[in-house]
Symmetry: C2
Subunit: 249 residues, 2 copies
C-alpha cells in the first residue's frame, strides 16, 4: 500500500466545487470514479482545498492510498486519458504514509482576477470577475497589507459554517494591475476560512472604489462580524494557484 499525491488543475465552471455533494457533479467525485476504474480498487481521494462551485485550480492537491503497480510518476498520464478535458492532473508522486493534505503544514496561494474595464471581454468571462468601476490599486494594496499576519478573520468568514477557531495566518496579500484592464489579488496563507479569499476580494474592491478606506481594515478585523466586511466576490474570479508543503512534498 502506498500513498499517492496528485496536483490537480481544473476549470471549475461546470462543477459544484470540489467536495462530493448531492446537488451536482464535483471534481472529487470525478477523480474517485476514474481512479477507481483505472486502478480496479475503491479509491477515495482526500483534497487539500475544498474549492467552491465555479472556482478554478492550477494546483489543488489530492492524496489517496493504492496497491497499484503503476509507477507513481506515470499515474497522472494514465489518469488524464480518462478524465474530461476540464480536469487535468499535473503530476503524481508517492508521499509518506502519514502525509495529509490538510493537516500537514502548508502554504496555499489563491489569485482573484478582476477584469477592470468599461465593457466585458467574452474570452475572459469564465476566469475573471468583470467590474467596470475604476479601482484605486494603490489603496487596495495598502488595505491588503493590513491583513498580513495572524489575525482573527471572523469578519471574513461566511456565516454558513460552524468553525470555532477563526484565527488564521496570511503570509502575503498583494494587489497588482498586471495589465491595463486586469487587477490581480494574490493571497498566500497557511489556512483559510470558508469564502475567506472571496470576502477579502469583495472588501478590497470596496476600498478600490472609495467606499472603504485602507484605515478601516483593522476595525473590520476587530469587529469579528461578517457584516463588517464587504460582499463575497463571485466564485469564477478565483483560482487556487498552488500549495507548498513544508518539507513533505
Amino acid at each position: 500500500m502506498k500513498r499517492i499525491k496528485l496536483v490537480v488543475a481544473y476549470d471549475g465552471t461546470e462543477y459544484c466545487g470540489w467536495q462530493v455533494q448531492p446537488s451536482g457533479i464535483t471534481v472529487e467525485e470525478v477523480l474517485n470514479r476514474e481512479l477507481s476504474q483505472l486502478l480496479g480498487e475503491k479509491i477515495q481521494v482526500v483534497g487539500a482545498s475544498r474549492t467552491d462551485s465555479g472556482v478554478h485550480s492550477l494546483g489543488n492537491v489530492a492524496v489517496f492510498d493504492t496497491n497499484t503497480r503503476i509507477p507513481p510518476e506515470k499515474l497522472c498520464y494514465a489518469l488524464n486519458q480518462r478524465l474530461p478535458e476540464d480536469i487535468v492532473v499535473q503530476s503524481s508522486c508517492e508521499v509518506e504514509r502519514d502525509f495529509h493534505p490538510r493537516k500537514c503544514y502548508s502554504e496555499k496561494t489563491y489569485e482573484y482576477r478582476i477584469l477592470n474595464r468599461k465593457i466585458p471581454l467574452p474570452t475572459l468571462r469564465r476566469y475573471t470577475y468583470f467590474y467596470y468601476r475604476d479601482l484605486d490599486v494603490a489603496k487596495m494594496q495598502r488595505a491588503a497589507s493590513c491583513l498580513v499576519g495572524e489575525h482573527d478573520f471572523k469578519s471574513f468568514c461566511s456565516v454558513r459554517t460552524s468553525v470555532e477557531d477563526t484565527v488564521r495566518t496570511i503570509l502575503s496579500c498583494t494587489v497588482e494591475r498586471t495589465a491595463e484592464d486586469m487587477v490581480n489579488i494574490r493571497v498566500t496563507g497557511t489556512g483559510f476560512l470558508y469564502n475567506m479569499v472571496r470576502i477579502i476580494a469583495g472588501t478590497l474592491i470596496l476600498v478600490g472604489i472609495g467606499e472603504l478606506e485602507p484605515e478601516d481594515m483593522p476595525g473590520i478585523l476587530q469587529q469579528r462580524e461578517r457584516s463588517a466586511a464587504g460582499p463575497t466576490a463571485p466564485a469564477h474570479g478565483l483560482t487556487m494557484i498552488g500549495i507548498v508543503y513544508g518539507g513533505m512534498g
Copy 2:
C-alpha cells in the same frame, strides 16, 4: 439612413464561425437577429474578417445601415443587453456612407497562441493550442520574418477556396515567448487568404521543432503549392485582435 460600425468581441467556441451558413449558428446571424429586433428594421451586417468556426475575436468589425434614432455611441450598450455572453460589442460609431469593412484599406492583426508545456491546463484549453514538444522560438522568429512583405501566399492558402489573386502583404510577423509556457505568433497584414494565419502557425511550429528550417521559407513561398507548407493549426488557438482602417474608421 446612417452607417454604423461595430467592434465585435466573441468567444468562438460555440459558433460555426462568422458568416451565416446552413450547418449551425454563426456570429453574424446572432448580430443580424438581435439588431433587427432591437431596431425594428431588417438588419444585415457586413463583416470585416469572416473568421472560421472556433476562432475568437477581440476586435472584428461589422457595419450596417439603419434609420434608428438611438445615438450611434449608445447603440452598443442596448445591443449588449440582448446578446449572449459570448458576444460583446466593444464600441459603436457612425462612419461615412461609403465605408466598407473589407474594401477599405485596413491593417488586420491576428494572434495565434500556443500553450507549450508537457501537460495541458484546463483553464486555457478554449483559447490556446496545446503543443507539448519544445519550440525553438528564435528559429520560428527567423522563419516568420521571411513572410513579411508582399508575396504570393498560395502555399499558405486552403485548397478549399477558389480565390485567384493570392498575392498579399504582411506588415509584421513576430514570434514571442510571453510566458515560460506560452508562445504567441502575431501577424499584421492588409489582407489574408482562407486559413492563411493558421497555416503560417502550423508551418512555424514545424520550424520550432526542427522539421523545417528558417531557410526553407522562401522555397515554400516559391512553390505556390499548399502541400509545401505545414499543417493548418487548430482554430481555437487563433484570435482576431483588431483592425485599423486608414483614416476611415
